[in-house]
């Protein structure tokens, strides 16, 4: 028999170490330990049995792997920290003596410079590893690039974050690797796919961030320090991989004027100005899109091309297209099944090449109320070369002139107000041409629309990108009620509610009928009250609509003025269409209300007639009754309920046969499933309610 083993010398007692002991062992302060852990990516673990691990009676909370801590011993940063501490002491002493010069000299010469390069290499041995971990880094850096500089966040850090983020955006624009984007209440989500890695990050809206007292910027600063190093290397690698010079040229004057993306100039790595190389490829892409898009778009694009007076660039691109025609065709071929009995293999959908040049043929103009930064980035990332905006939005626009005829789309976030409510415009004849002959941009929207131009709300851009096709712009017209903005990342699951498909397809049997019933019961109670309120509501509503219509009428008059030009196939006359529609609707409203009353009377009469006929024919009335929709619904519901009950019983019976342990597991799993089902059911119920309210509103309007 061997010696009796001492307790706590092997196993998990040895494998884990508490934080206090780790700090003591490393002989550094707790903040330094924290920094080290953040840099090195060391995190606490949860031991399987805490009791076995902790050596003291008091329950410790944080445990680290002993191996992790040992691995910190060899960290060069540890020495740097110690050096830093000693120099800080010296500086403190010098300052205490009032020797400022000495202190600054010490700081300059002796203060150790901390670089995290080796840690980047260590934590991310390959580039793909780094890309995989870029989510948090990007979110953090984009946040910091939007923060105001304070004592906790030096302006240098913010500038660095801004630079890195813009560089990264430039790469995404050049490489067309942005895939999806989503407007949430928190900010804007973007997803890019680089080397097969999906990177999702969140950019806050451009507002001053609320910073509460419980936020420790030292911790965030440590993260930012690490992330800036990481993104710096990632950017370098990305730029060099597409043949660009890193760092790109940065024009601080443009940046001061709010150039943002425009403050950077990308350069090719070859001899001489290799900018065209990139231009060419993107131009080629744009050409390709032109071939893809419909003939109408083609005609339009041709027109634009004629208007913008193409330089030699387009010729080059045309030549390149001819050469690239077969090369670029590396997309998957579709395999058609020749025989009936063969299996069908699933194939991935069309590549990103098409979506990346979604807006290539358009020229956008951003009104001054739209968020320029995300729109510019998105449009450029999806192939748009020419994005112009109002001067107040900053430098770097393709054009600042709203009346530029090259503009095909204008992103507008203002509703069309009636003209008289707008402030008077200074006389365009004087303001348009200033003394030095420069043409000042004329603000058109919402006073006038340019014929042939599509006016859309910003959401159109996002929805187009997420659905990878150009959507009908009339749904997103200014002032129109927007369709709901859906997250592109939610995968429809069986049993879960999916707002993009109609309710009837996803609801279980009998649910709709049940809902109807409940509603009826509720409605009976409320009917009397609603009668009164409805009548009151109806009057002002109609007035409001009338006003809106007036405005529309006014505007449409202007549109007619420009109607002489041939703009067939464009959406510009949607407003007049809408107006017509609305007139129709308004009329319908009155009509339908009356009609519904008539209908009811008619139905009752018909029913009576049918009964009479049935009597004459000798069929019992009951059989007829069953055919009425109400009784049918009730029947269906009853059937569904019965079926459900039977299923339930069956399941109960099966459960009886399970052993105790398995039954518990089953119940646990069922619980989570049921929770999801409940959520879905709630959503369906709400949807039904909304639909009903809508239909009621329509019929009463």
């Amino acid at each position: 028999m061997g010696r009796i083993k001492k307790k706590g010398t092997s196993g998990s007692a040895k494998n884990f170490i508490t934080r206090t002991r780790a700090v003591k062992k490393l002989q550094i302060s707790l903040p330094d330990f924290r920094r080290l852990c953040i840099f090195k990516g060391i995190y606490p673990r949860e031991p399987r049995n805490k009791k076995k691990v902790s050596k003291s009676a008091t329950p410790s909370t944080t445990f680290y792997y002993t191996k992790d801590i040992q691995y910190l011993f060899h960290e060069p940063l540890l020495n740097k920290f110690r050096e830093h501490k000693s120099v800080a002491k010296k500086i403190g002493r010098a300052l205490g003596r009032g020797e400022v010069g000495d202190a600054s000299r010490l700081e300059k010469t002796l203060m150790p410079k901390i670089t995290l390069d080796h840690i980047i290499k260590e934590r991310y041995p390959t580039f793909v590893d780094a890309l995989r971990d870029l989510d948090d880094a990007l979110s953090m850096l984009f946040l910091f690039s939007n923060l105001p500089s304070t004592s906790a966040v030096p302006s240098k850090t913010i500038a660095l974050c801004q630079r890195l983020c813009l560089e990264f955006e430039h790469y995404l624009i050049v490489s067309h690797s942005l895939r999806k984007s989503f407007l949430s209440i928190k900010g804007i989500y973007y997803q890019a796919t680089i080397q097969g890695q999906d990177i999702l990050w969140l950019v806050p809206y451009k507002f001053v961030q609320r910073v509460t007292g419980d936020i420790d910027f030292r911790i965030m600063g440590t993260f930012v320090e690490f992330y800036t190093t990481l993104l710096g290397f990632v950017n370098f690698r990305l730029y060099t991989s597409v043949g660009l010079v890193y760092p790109p040229k940065f024009s601080s004057s443009s940046d001061e004027r709010g150039g943002e993306l425009g403050a950077f100039t990308l350069e090719g790595r070859g001899v001489g100005p290799s900018q065209p190389a990139i231009e060419d490829s993107s131009a080629a892409n744009s050409e390709k899109v032109q071939t893809i898009t419909s003939s109408a778009a083609q005609a339009e694009a041709d027109k634009i091309a004629a208007l913008t007076a193409p330089e030699g660039e387009t010729d080059d691109s045309a030549a390149l297209v001819a050469g690239n025609e077969d090369e670029n065709n590396d997309a998957l071929d579709t395999f058609e099944v020749t025989a009936q009995d063969a299996d069908i293999l699933p194939q991935p959908q069309a590549g990103s090449a098409e979506t990346s040049t979604l807006f290539a043929s358009f020229t956008f103009y951003l009104s001054r109320e739209t968020p320029r930064q995300p729109l510019e980035f998105l449009l450029k990332a999806f192939g748009c070369k020419r994005v112009g905006w109002d001067t107040v939005l900053g430098d770097g626009a393709f054009t600042n002139d709203e009346s530029n005829p090259a503009i095909t789309h204008q992103v507008v976030d203002r509703p069309a107000l009636p003209l008289e409510s707008l402030p008077a415009l200074p006389d365009p004849s004087t303001s348009a041409q200033s003394t030095d002959g420069e043409v000042k941009p004329v603000a058109l929207w919402p006073r006038a629309t340019v014929p042939g131009r599509t006016y859309v709300q910003p959401q159109w851009v996002w929805d187009c990108i997420n659905q990878a096709k150009l959507l009908r712009p009339d749904l997103y017209a200014p002032g129109a009620t927007l369709p709901p903005h859906l997250s592109p990342w939610v995968k429809a699951k069986k049993g879960q509610y999916d707002p993009s498909i109609p309710l009837a397809e996803q609801e279980p049997e009998g649910e709709a009928e049940q809902f109807e019933d409940e509603e009826e019961i509720e409605a009976e109670g409320q009917d009397d009250e609603e009668m009164g309120s409805d009548a009151e509501k109806a009057v002002p509503k109609r007035n409001g609509k009338r006003n809106g219509m007036d405005a529309l009428l006014d505007r449409s008059g202007e549109v007619e003025a420009g109607e002489g030009m041939d703009i067939a196939g464009t959406e510009s006359d949607f407003s007049s269409e809408e107006e017509e529609e609305e007139v129709g609707e308004d009329w319908d409203g009155i009509h339908s209300e009356a009609a519904s009353e008539i209908d009811e009377a008619e139905a009752a009469r018909l029913q009576h007639q049918r009964e009479l006929e049935a009597e004459a024919a000798g069929i019992s009335v009951e059989t007829l009754e069953t055919n009425t929709p109400k009784s049918k619904a009730a029947e269906a519901r009853k059937k569904a309920a019965k079926k459900r009950r039977e299923e339930e019983e069956e399941k109960e019976r099966l459960k009886m046969m399970l052993p105790q342990r398995k039954r518990k597991l089953f119940e646990r799993m069922e619980y989570s499933n049921q929770k999801k089902d409940k959520e879905a059911e709630l959503l369906r119920k709400k949807k039904r309610k909304v639909d009903k309210a809508k239909s009621v509103g329509r019929s009463s309007a």
């Binding site: 995190y43 606490p44 209440i185 911790i219 370098f236 739209t370 997250s487």
Partner: protein, 807 residues
Amino acid sequence: MALPSRKRKAVTRDASSPTNSDSEDELEGGLLHEILSQSEDESILDSDDESGLESEGASEIEGGNGLEEEDEGELESDEVPSEGEDIREQIRNPNTVVQSSRVTHSQWQNGTARVNGSLQDSSNQDILDVETAVDDKALEDEEHKANYAVTTDANGNPRYIYKEIDPVYDSDDSDAPATTNTIGNIPLSFYDSYPHIGYDINGKRIMRPAKGEALDALLDSIDIPKGWTGLTDPATGRPLELTQEELEVLKKITLNETPGDGYDPYPDMVYYFSGKEEIMPLSAAPEPKRRFIPSKHEAKRVMKIVKAIREGRIQPYKTPEEEEGDPDIKTYDIWADEAPRPDHSMHIPAPKLPPPGYDESYHPPPEYLPDKDEIAAWEEADEEDREKAYLPTDHDALRKVPGYDTFVKEKFERCLDLYLAPRVRRNKLNIDPESLLPKLPNPDELKPFPTTCAAIFRGHVGRVRSVSVDPRGLFLASGGDDGFVRIWELVTGRQVWNAMISDDEAVDVVRWRPGKDAAVLAAAAGESIYLVVPFSIISPEMEQTSRDILDVGWGYAASKPSTTNGVSAESPAKWSRPGTRLEDKGVLVKTTVRSTVKVINWHRRGEYFATVSPRGQSSSVAIHTLSKHLTQLPFRRLKGIAQSAQFHPSKPIFFVATRNSIRSYDLAKQELLKVLQPGAKWISSFDVHPGGDNLIVGTYDKRLLWHDLDLSTKPYKTLRYHKEAIRAVRFHQGSLPLFADASDDGSLQIFHGKVVGDMMENATIVPLKVLRGHQVKSRLGVMDVDWHPREPWCVSAGADGTCRLWN
């Protein structure tokens, strides 16, 4: 107001202390002390006044006095001696006082001076006051005058000769209580609205004594002058007063400071060596020469440096040049030589944040918006309890979207999570819960099984102990406590045959012989086993074959008596004819064994049957050969008490159940095959599945056990659905996967027990039905159960004297 109060005061005062005014006249020495004390009082007040005079002026003081008197009329009435009064007294008889008390002379002077002053300066009112008071006094004095006579003594001074004091009660009123209230037995509250509280013996009012507030007010009103000490200066005899300087010294002492004036504890330093250049040097020595010649040592050192510079060892100082470019801009590819490295097995990468859902949209579908209740619940909930950190909100245009309030906080929390949260790998069960459920046959597939009571067979008196359905499924045999064996038509429940085979003993068991060609029923009552051919209900051919089967053995026992029973004196059983009465009925053979037979089980071919008589010890299990009328005892000695025995349906294997185990024996090889341990305390019965590989066991301890012989000696399933002991268990012998058990709780339970041929799958057991109908009599319910050979019908024997058919 002042006037009446003054008057009243004066009166009371006199009344209360009549001696006060008289004292000067009456008792010189005795009252001197009092006067002294009074004068002392006065002196205090005077000194007070004087200090006031010094600072403020006499007229003011007088005014003050007047005021005092007016304001505090009440106080004075309460016999607080005030200066005004004393003065007045002094005014009244200045001479007497001056003469009698010399000690207080100085004060007197003051007093008079002051009085004069007051008399001169005071207002008319005051003068009037004093005059009236004086008048009063004068009157009173006259009253008292009779008390003494004034004569002249030897020195020529006036001498008072007092009358003899009449030593009556209350004559010595100097120490007598001043007043006695004579209000009688009246509550004091009656006087609440009056200034007095009653009357004394003289009918004078007794004024209300001073209350705390009044005293306080007085004390407050007397302001002590600044330098007042309350002492008399021994040098001057005047009250000792402290000057301003002295007060300051005192103050300094109390503050722990140096008392003297002009003392500086921290004087400026005086430099003794003042740096002022003197004209004359301290030393007259001339300057040494070395001060004028260059230092050789220095030249040496300079040369050293020069040399070093020349040789290039010392470089001129260059400011450390700034590192070219920003260190934040990376200029090299860190992954130039990347080599993939597998992650450490214990490394858990940080989980990514989930992508946003529909409800996080700035313009979500309306069904994702929370209704009022949800909003309220969300707002009410604690921040940590909320399922989501945000509330879905709808903005109809992008420009209306506000900034997200907790953006920085969320990111900060993410940072905390990344470096502070312990990471655990959790296996998420992503299986369909349905897959856990056993694949059970559909209830429709489980059909048919008996569900209702189809027929009740009544006729037995007392318990029915055993039932058996004949192999053709036409008849039901039963035996009961009344000693009858009855045969019934199964479908109708009509009794077609009966025979009383025993008078005194119950029929414990009845069993039809398997095989459709013949109809032979074995019944046991007591130690005897009867073999019956109920010829009245069967066809003649069948009767013949049945009789043949039974009769073939008669000669056998007679022809070979020695081989079987020759050695042993007694044979295990005696085969005989039961007698004509029974033979007429069809009971053809009677076999008598040594002890009561409880169980009969036939071999599948009908050639053998086994009987068990639990109390028979070594002869408890017997196997009878029908064709030879031969009885064998296979076990010489049996471990435990035999409960039941059965033949294997297809193999030459014989199962014997003892109280708590079941043994299987190979009959051909004569050896023990297997011992099953059901884990039961007392096995009541068991049955072998027609397939032969499964066994069900019923026990008196309420358990039903399923044994898979291939699996283990332990039960595969233990079913405990009965509340009472299980009496009988039975498999359906036909093709249906059914089995039933009968219990003392009066119920039968029907199970589906499907055995699949291959070894991979275990038997499926599904509880199907509980059949209730039998009544529990003296804690016995259902005694026996049997299945129809083909149909899903089962028959039960109840302790209530009925048999029931279930289908």
